[in-house]
Symmetry: C4
Subunit: 231 residues, 4 copies
């Protein structure tokens, strides 16, 4: 379980980074990471202050949500994280926040079109919105069905190319190849949401970016011919 | 009076936290806490800088507003705090700020509907707005009547489930089970107000959250079956 | 000239406070203070970085703008400050900034109505807007006439009760009983402007605060019966 | 190559200043500087964290983009910088950011009129917008043509008097007499864009600043009769 110790450190750091990036108020956010070989998920404890949080506070749960290790209760959103890990086989980390502008799109029930290259660098097109949960789903298993309506919305979408979603009436979830990567995608989503909000105000006839520029930018950073960065 | 010393420390810290959370400019805010057994309230002094403020600067008043201990004059809003403590028997702390977005709703004379789960996690529905004070009320006892129009607005509301209010033309008051808790509710109100402001801009047809989701979220954190956090 | 040394320290500190309060970008702001007995004004040097600024960098000018002491050129806006000191006999300090929201009202050519008590606590009613300078005034003596159109606008206003103004197409000037006080009024103006901007967006039918509440709040902090603060 | 060492330090510092001024998120920005005598450009490496960046991380390229010195790959936007240096003979530094409000104007496809003196102090009139790249240009040499459409837009404009541009659907580029100067112009553009955005919201009939005031302000800081600052 040496790798689990490393994962706990990464997940604790990723949770603390939410504060550094201005993505959370009080304890409104949680990050997890998965060890696919062990079949175990490391997640933030529920309602604990980020300021005093360390690797030792992280909770290890199995894929059914049973606590394997940890002195705290896991995040109340754990069941949502688990659904995402089960459906999206290539992701290594999940982040949930109530970051201001992404949440505003969730509240207004509006998807985020790709208005510029900042968006295209990280999300391959529109950032999708789920439907509302039904009353029966809420009653039966609220957090689990929150995962299920996300997965339903991704029926025809690639979660790697679109690493985040807006849950209607609630807030965003993002993911990535690691816990750290899912936090960065949450930060990108927040900036992209802020700019989309103001773009629509400035010009209500704003058009999405032409598709050939979207493709170019996304592929500069992703896929086989990426040439951004040092790799 | 040992517990009063502890309360003075808590109230001083809660006042300083207003600055940490970005809820005040200059000296525009005040927090108090009550000792129900002693029948005494600890409150911030009027117009004193938060930077140099300590427990020793706090003022102790009785339920009629008479200064029992303290080297400074109490907050000019003391009479409003006292009215709230007398009417809302289960609260332990009161916070008044002019935080930006909550104050904007006060100035615009608009209540804050529950547009999402961030709101539902802390306020059980619409955040209410008082009426304006009449000229006679202003002349007679401005701060006391500010408390009275809040209480009037809560005639059919539970102050525990709705721990804050917008005073028309003025600014918000929040409360909670302690001074610290009332500050946290003030922070939540500010974030919720900012998101409600932008939600309405983004989509002028935005609907409030379906009631069964509101209920679910509020009850995750409050009431007998709460399962958020470590308790 | 002992008092001049003290004034230089106060004015240097007041200029540095512009940065602390988030009122300036780069070197876009300047504060001065006057010694009425000496008939001398201490003002910030032109285009010097706030980070390295101390009392020794301040420039002393006489009421005609002649440099009496100092190693730098005075602020390019010195002539505006001098006009204000000559016309408004009871002020001790002047601040000019391009703070974001106050400047937006200047650019939009709109005065700031009193929408709430935050405004009423510091400005006794609408914050006025000057006219544009004429081409001849600009050619002849730009900075001096900037002062003159402010004074023209205050023909029927009391500069003590309304300690600031919006210069159309330009930015705000504020004043007060000292350099420090003029900076505080600039901060209040910025907050009030931000809230007025958003209040109008939230509700385009927003009404100014009823006059009897405006009067009450202004007089809580100002005038013979003031009872806010410790004096 | 002693001067190149100095230039590397300046360019590294200018890149770090992007963070200080709040102009970048993650690694979304790059600054370069040119040594006209050597015919060499120093530029930020691609995708490297600003926090750990020093002069030793800078990359030296020749005017064809060939790496002359450096352990990293140069910024993916290097070809754009080179086009600008070749066309605008008097500039010494170039900055590219995705700063929030300037990018919003790029996304909305709207030029920034001069609404006030803050703008006029630094940009001699409207801040121009390029056209979109064609699909063929994107396919052939995306970054090089980004430079070319900027230059095309400046056919009748002086790049010294208008030290920045909005690339439609993308983000701004600014330049100046040095790397540091190009960063300052990027900061000014961001502030000016934020104020223009809100000015249009506050008053949709806002007019540009009268030309004689624009001229006066631009010439206070620029040109033969400038009298702002200490030179």
């Amino acid at each position: 379980m040496k790798s689990m110790q490393e994962l706990k450190k990464q997940v604790a750091q990723a949770n603390v980074d939410l504060v550094k990036y201005g993505l959370v108020t009080l304890t409104w956010g949680n990050v997890s990471g998965i060890d696919r070989d062990e079949g175990l998920v490391v997640i933030k404890p529920s309602g604990v202050d980020y300021k005093t949080m360390s690797a030792e506070d992280m909770v290890i749960v199995d894929m059914k949500g049973k606590v394997i290790e940890g002195k705290w209760k896991p995040s109340s959103d754990t069941a949502t994280h688990l659904e995402l890990y089960k459906a999206f086989k290539n992701i290594g980390g999940v982040t949930h926040t109530h970051s201001t502008y992404a949440t505003i799109f969730c509240q207004a029930g509006i998807e985020i079109p790709c208005y510029g290259t900042t968006h295209a660098d990280h999300f391959d097109g529109t950032i999708p919105l789920t439907r509302f949960l039904t009353e029966q789903e809420v009653d039966e298993a609220y957090e689990k069905y929150t995962g299920k309506i996300i997965i339903e919305r991704f029926k025809d979408l690639d979660p790697i190319a679109t690493p985040g979603v807006l849950v209607w009436g609630h807030a965003p979830f993002c993911w990535g190849k690691s816990a750290e990567d899912s936090v960065k995608n949450s930060l990108v989503l927040e900036r992209v949401a802020q700019m989309a909000y103001a773009t629509r105000h400035l010009n209500s006839d704003s058009n999405p970016l032409p598709d050939y520029i979207l493709r170019k930018h996304f592929n500069r950073k992703h896929g086989p011919n990426a040439y951004y960065g040092q790799k």
